[in-house]
């Protein structure tokens, strides 16, 4: 059997006494869209940051395509094929939107994988077009609205041509119409194909999200995190009926009242 695509084993991150992520183990295969949900402060974002090396784990291992990448430098991990987006948007505010994406197109991985495409500008343009913000390409990122910045984050991530996308609240602060649109294009990206000059092999995705109804429509599998521990795992239908999950979200007594 081939080595699993992404394998997280017993990952822990402690901030002093606080156990933000406490022994999380899961795996993602190369053709999956996985949702990662949990109440506020459950450690979802921390988990994402541990995988991408922005934070160094206290213990545990992360393996990507059979290779141990625990605690490596973020740039190195991105060049191996994992692209993160951030919950709080962090664009290069003084640069034009197109230049924000160009930076990703200039990383070693994108250069190597996309050398049949002549110019960086065109590839950046296609990533923007795919996310539907090509009309803003020349505006500086500081004047762009929050919803568009969220999409810019995704464009920046897919421009590195990842095999695994880690999306941290891609729907955060989007209107219902925008949410549907983004959900659709993520699904389309996952199927893979060629979008202009952008070649997608259908990256696996891990999506952290609070808008559960929208998330459940697009993902294949859901992992539920609570107080740093994984409490449930399964298809969306299974998870929403799971008693533990309901308890984690709305509390024990209420859930007993409901049932």
């Amino acid at each position: 059997m081939a080595a699993p695509f992404l394998e997280v084993e017993n990952l822990c991150k402690h901030f002093g006494e606080l156990r933000a992520v406490d022994g999380a183990s899961f795996h993602v295969s190369h053709d999956e869209m996985v949702g990662l949900i949990g109440p506020n402060g459950a450690g979802k974002t921390t988990l994402m940051r541990l995988i991408t090396g922005i934070l160094k784990p206290t213990s545990g291992t992360v393996r990507f395509k059979g290779e141990d990448i625990t605690g490596q430098d973020t740039a190195k991990i991105v060049n191996k094929g994992i692209a993160p987006t951030f919950q709080v948007v962090k664009p290069f505010r003084h640069l034009p939107v197109a230049a924000n994406v160009m930076v990703s197109c200039l990383c070693p991985r994108a250069k190597r994988r996309g050398d049949w495409v002549k110019t960086v500008e065109l590839r950046a343009r296609d990533a923007l077009e795919f996310c539907g913000i090509a009309d803003l390409a020349l505006e500086p990122a500081s004047v762009v609205s929050h919803g568009d910045l969220k999409r810019l984050e995704v464009a920046r991530a897919i421009a590195t041509e990842p095999e695994l996308l880690l999306l941290d609240e891609p729907f955060g602060g989007l209107s219902p119409a925008e949410t549907e649109l983004v959900g659709k294009f993520l699904r389309r990206l996952h199927r893979g194909g060629r979008f202009g000059r952008l070649h997608s092999e259908g990256p696996a995705m891990v999506i952290v999200e609070h808008k559960l109804s929208d998330l459940m429509k697009i993902v294949d599998r859901v992992i539920v995190l609570s107080f740093g521990q994984i409490i449930a795992e399964g298809t969306p239908d299974e998870v929403v009926r799971n008693k533990e999950v309901i308890e984690a979200y709305i509390g024990k007594e209420v859930s007993s009242l409901v049932s």
């Binding site: 922005i54 430098d73 962090k90 930076v103 200039l106 990383c107 070693p108 920046r156």
Partner: protein
């Protein structure tokens, strides 16, 4: 052949003649090259030679601290390391200037890497404090070996660049123009030839996002430190061969602050701003010095000019001038002269009605 020349002319027209800021720069550089013909006075030549050297120096500080946000208060270290190594090689081993200046620049690169390694861990004020210490350490080292380094008096009798003042001036001016063009291209975010500009901007804006975009920020930071060291080193080598003395005064605090003053005066994060700042402030202060009253009050004058300029043009003088003569097209972001009503490329109205 004819059509090629015509295209070249059209390119020149579109890229330079249509942009007022570039026209001013072109006129300014042309005037600098004609200066020995217009005013062949030795003092004027000396002032502008030194100004050209300091322009490289200030631009190298802007490249490092302006573009990548690594606040360096010890830029004099690179300048001094190069000046001293050039002077030592020249005096003790008799190496001619055309060899000592590149060697000095390489010494500057090494110094840049030495400062760059702690800079990978430190940021902001902490980095500034560390960089401040480096030139002081070097002064200490110089005082320990007075036999070799000349101690407090410095090294005298370094070879001149060439036999004549005018030739000196032209050598310095050519090197300065080339260095500044290289630095400007390296940092130009819109350049399609060299792509470092956009990456440097990205690192300054948000380092974590830059890393998440797959950019090895460590490598780029070290690269910027060594490039900055290189050009400060070129300036140091030219300086020591022009002024013919290498003394510990070039490692002092004031010498580190000078490029910062010039750059902020001219406009930070624009290589041309640093250059303009030097060419405005330095000759002004030096010309005032020729008068006996000015000699005592020159720094008061400089500080007054600085305060007034920064009060009314907080972004620096070049940005203020640019904002008043240029207008960026709201649609295609092309630079137009302010007097136009419609963009020269896309015909969009430039001044939207209120």
């Amino acid at each position: 052949m004819g059509s090629y020349l015509y295209q070249l002319y059209r390119g020149f027209q579109g890229e330079i003649l249509a942009v007022p800021g570039r026209v001013i720069a072109l006129i300014f550089v042309t005037l600098l090259f004609l200066l020995p013909l217009i005013i062949p006075h030795p003092i004027v030549l000396k002032i502008f030679s030194l100004a050209a050297i300091f322009a490289i120096f200030a631009a190298s500080w802007d490249l490092l601290s302006g573009f990548t946000g690594q606040l360096n208060l010890g830029q004099a270290l690179f300048f001094g390391v190069s000046a001293y190594s050039a002077a030592l090689l020249n005096i003790h081993l008799g190496v001619p200037p055309w060899a000592t200046i590149p060697i000095g620049a390489i010494a500057g690169v090494i110094a840049g890497l030495l400062v760059g390694i702690p800079a990978l861990r430190l940021r902001g004020f902490y980095l500034a404090l560390v960089t401040l210490a480096f030139p002081i350490i070097l002064i200490g080292v110089i005082f320990v070996f007075p036999d070799i380094t000349g101690g407090e008096l410095g090294l005298f009798g370094v070879d001149r660049l060439s036999g004549s003042r005018v030739l000196d001036y032209y050598i310095i001016l050519l090197v300065a123009t080339a260095s500044i063009l290289v630095m400007w291209k390296l940092t130009d975010g819109r350049s399609k030839i060299v792509r470092t500009g956009v990456i440097l901007h990205a690192i300054r804006e948000d380092e974590i996002t830059a890393r998440a975009s797959g950019i090895n920020t460590v490598r780029y930071k070290l690269m910027v430190f060594s490039i900055s060291g290189f050009f400060a080193g070129v300036a140091g080598g030219l300086y020591v061969h022009y002024i013919r003395i290498a003394g510990p005064s070039i490692l002092e605090l004031f010498f580190s602050f000078q490029p910062i003053i010039w750059t902020i005066f001219g406009g930070i994060v624009t290589i041309y701003g640093a250059v303009a700042g030097v060419f405005i402030l330095y000759p002004l202060v030096e010309l005032v010095r020729l008068h006996p009253v000015g000699e005592t009050y020159r720094f008061v004058l400089m500080v007054l000019i600085l305060i007034v300029v920064l009060l009314f043009m907080p972004q620096g003088i070049t940005r203020w001038v640019r904002d008043h003569i240029e207008e960026i097209c709201p649609r295609c972001k092309l630079i137009n002269i302010r007097t136009r009503r419609y963009c020269r490329a896309c015909r969009a109205p430039l001044h939207a009605e209120k």
